[in-house]
């Protein structure tokens, strides 16, 4: 623990030294890329997505909500790279801005849902007895709802907006995280270091946050990556159904709704590009998640 403190104190210097070429971190990245080429590909796509989301205003060629009657259903490759939609908005620019919605909803809901789920799962095991029993009954009940149906119910109650999508998806992720982390916490609880901590009279908070949670983190990271892909698809699905992000906001799912379905002959590209974007991102993310799982959780190695 003393060592941990020293590292934190020397944080800036250590980080700078660590990022210099030839340091341990790059060797690790290099090793990961050689051992798990598919995972590295996934990581690269994820990185590109983050860059595009941050620099969207510089990458987009037009304002994503600017309409232009001259460009209604403009063909891809003519004036607009990926064509124009039913009111002459630039499909490419809308796709670029759509990464922000996808990433925001995906990252936040995966992180919030998995974090709350982990706290519930670990605390449930730590306190045990009746608490565990009651919590597990509630988790069981929430698991009985198909996740998308639960999210739709919550969206129906809250109304369409990006932050409500995050709330709905976060809640949908809680039960499965709590279930998975509970099984891990049950193992950790019996470890000598937890028994030792209890023996020296450590409080609930100390045991949970210093001893149990750090030993569940590998599984937690794996779940966050898995959820991120799921959340991106779920956000797109809700927006596609018209109950996610409001229709005027550029989102991948929303772009597939309406005209993309109705005017198949007139403008097939409206339905192809946003779907392709979702598919590539989720595919890459799954590859990354699979590789991370292999690296972080040896028990699952070779079963994918």
């Amino acid at each position: 623990m003393a060592q941990e403190r020293r590292i934190t104190a020397a944080f800036p210097e250590a980080v700078i030294r660590g990022l210099l070429p030839g340091s341990a971190i790059w060797r690790n990245v290099g090793r990961f890329a050689r051992r798990k080429p598919l995972g590295a590909f996934g990581a690269a796509v994820a990185l590109i997505l983050i860059v595009v989301a941050i620099f969207a205003p510089f990458i987009a060629t037009k304002d994503p909500s600017e309409t232009n009657h001259r460009l209604v259903y403009a063909r891809p490759g003519s004036e607009l790279l990926l064509g124009g939609d039913q009111v002459g908005r630039d499909v490419f620019s809308r796709l670029v801005y759509g990464t922000r919605v996808s990433l925001y909803a995906g990252l936040l809901s995966a992180f919030i849902g998995a974090t709350i789920g982990m706290l519930v799962g670990v605390a449930s095991v730590h306190f045990g007895g009746k608490t565990d029993l009651i919590v597990q009954r509630i988790v069981d009940t929430m698991m009985a709802f198909p996740a998308l149906i639960l999210a739709i119910a919550i969206m129906a109650a809250l109304g369409a907006s990006l932050n409500n999508v995050v709330i709905a998806l976060s809640i949908a992720f809680i039960p499965s995280t709590a279930r998975v982390l509970r099984s891990q916490a049950l193992v950790v609880k019996e470890m000598d270091y937890v028994l030792a901590a209890r023996a020296i009279g450590a409080g609930h908070g100390r045991i949970i946050f210093r001893h149990m949670i750090p030993n569940c983190l590998a599984l937690y990271i794996v779940l966050v990556t898995v959820f991120l892909g799921t959340a991106i698809v779920a956000e797109a699905t809700l927006s596609f159904l018209g109950i996610g992000v409001p229709p005027d906001v550029a989102s991948w799912g929303g772009m597939l709704n309406g005209a993309a379905q109705r005017y198949v002959r007139l403008a097939p590209w409206l339905g192809v590009f946003p779907g392709l974007a979702i598919a590539i991102v989720v595919f890459a993310w799954n590859l990354l998640g699979d590789s991370l799982r292999d690296v972080l959780d040896p028990r699952l190695r070779g079963t994918g």
Binding site: I138, G242, I243, G275, T303
Partner: protein, 319 residues
């Protein structure tokens, strides 16, 4: 076995009750008062007096304490009365009676397609582990998971429209009256739904098959000179399918949720479409009803699967 079934049943009932409570709580979070929404009309600007509001609340029953409303609602559902639709002003149960069978048929068809494709794919993938056949099977499986099913649906519609001048059918042919047309209408939505779940089930089959393959009884079966085909079919597959049975309950829930999307793409007049329409019309009675029916079907299926599982796998019956 009887004790085992009884135990499962005792777990099933509180879960179902808790589920209805959860739906009730979630939908009571709605900001705003259904009585005001109703009185304000479609434009949301119609004028009304306090007395009218009180009458409307009394009519909708929202002036009573919450626990009375909840009790009333559950008691109604026990008699298959799901309340009046706030939008269509008719019994939700009647709507459900026509739409539930359509969605159920679609889901069962999709599950059938998924299982018939997934099991052989998973088995071949496991037997030929780390060969090109295995890689191809795994890529198919990962692709199925990564492609959002609504996009696959849209692409299939594109394909059908552009190549065959197909248009989504407006009516719906009953399975028992016109099975040919019915199948034509449901086969593409079912394929779309099934493809996604096939991917997941193929992965489960593969990994459980790989595990079973290393068991002692497989070595024994081979050692006594049994043909490889028999080893696979009679010893390995039989045991490897147990986890597949378990996940198929979970898959059924995902398929039911998936119908919400697929039904709106392929214009199938089922329960999924009813759910989305009800959300749009702020028809909370109908939303509640659809969600409870969906969840109850998942729970019933899981109960049935637990029983089947206990029958298939004597090891868990006695624990």
């Amino acid at each position: 076995m009887q004790a085992y079934i009884l135990k499962r049943l005792l777990l099933f009932i509180p879960t179902l009750v808790l589920a209805t409570l959860l739906v009730f709580v979630i939908l009571r979070l709605i900001p705003g008062d259904p009585a005001i929404t109703k009185l304000a009309g479609d434009t949301g600007e119609a004028q009304f007096t306090q007395e009218q509001l009180a009458t409307m609340r009394a009519e909708l029953g929202t002036d009573r304490p919450l626990y009375v409303q909840y009790g009333d609602w559950v008691w109604g559902m026990l008699r298959l009365d799901f309340g009046e639709s706030l939008y269509f002003e008719e019994a939700v149960a009647r709507d459900l009676a026509t739409k539930f069978p359509i969605t159920l048929e679609l889901t069962v068809l999709a599950l059938l397609i998924a299982t018939l494709l997934a099991v052989p794919l998973g088995v071949v993938s496991a037997i030929k582990q780390d060969t090109p056949t295995d890689y191809v099977a795994r890529v198919i499986a990962i692709t199925g998971v990564a492609l959002p099913n609504f996009w696959v649906g849209i692409l299939i519609v594109y394909f059908l429209v552009l190549l065959f001048d197909w248009i989504p059918p407006l009516g719906y042919a009953n399975l028992w009256e016109d099975p040919g047309t019915n199948l034509q209408q449901l086969i593409f939505p079912a394929l779309t739904l099934g493809f996604y779940n096939m991917a997941f089930m193929a992965r489960v089959t593969r990994s459980s098959m790989l595990e079973v393959y290393r068991e002692d009884y497989i070595r024994t079966a081979r050692a006594k000179g049994l043909a490889e085909r028999m080893v696979i079919l009679r010893h390995a597959l039989k045991n490897a399918l147990l986890p597949v049975v378990t996940v198929s309950g979970y898959e059924f829930g995902r398929l039911l949720a998936g119908t919400v999307v697929i039904e709106s793409i392929f214009v199938v007049p089922g329960m999924g479409k009813l759910l989305i329409d009800s959300v749009f019309h702020r028809d909370y009675t109908a939303v509640q009803a659809v969600i409870v029916v969906t969840t109850a079907s998942v729970l019933v299926l899981n109960l049935a699967l637990d029983v089947v599982y206990g029958w298939l796998n004597p090891r868990i019956r006695f624990t």
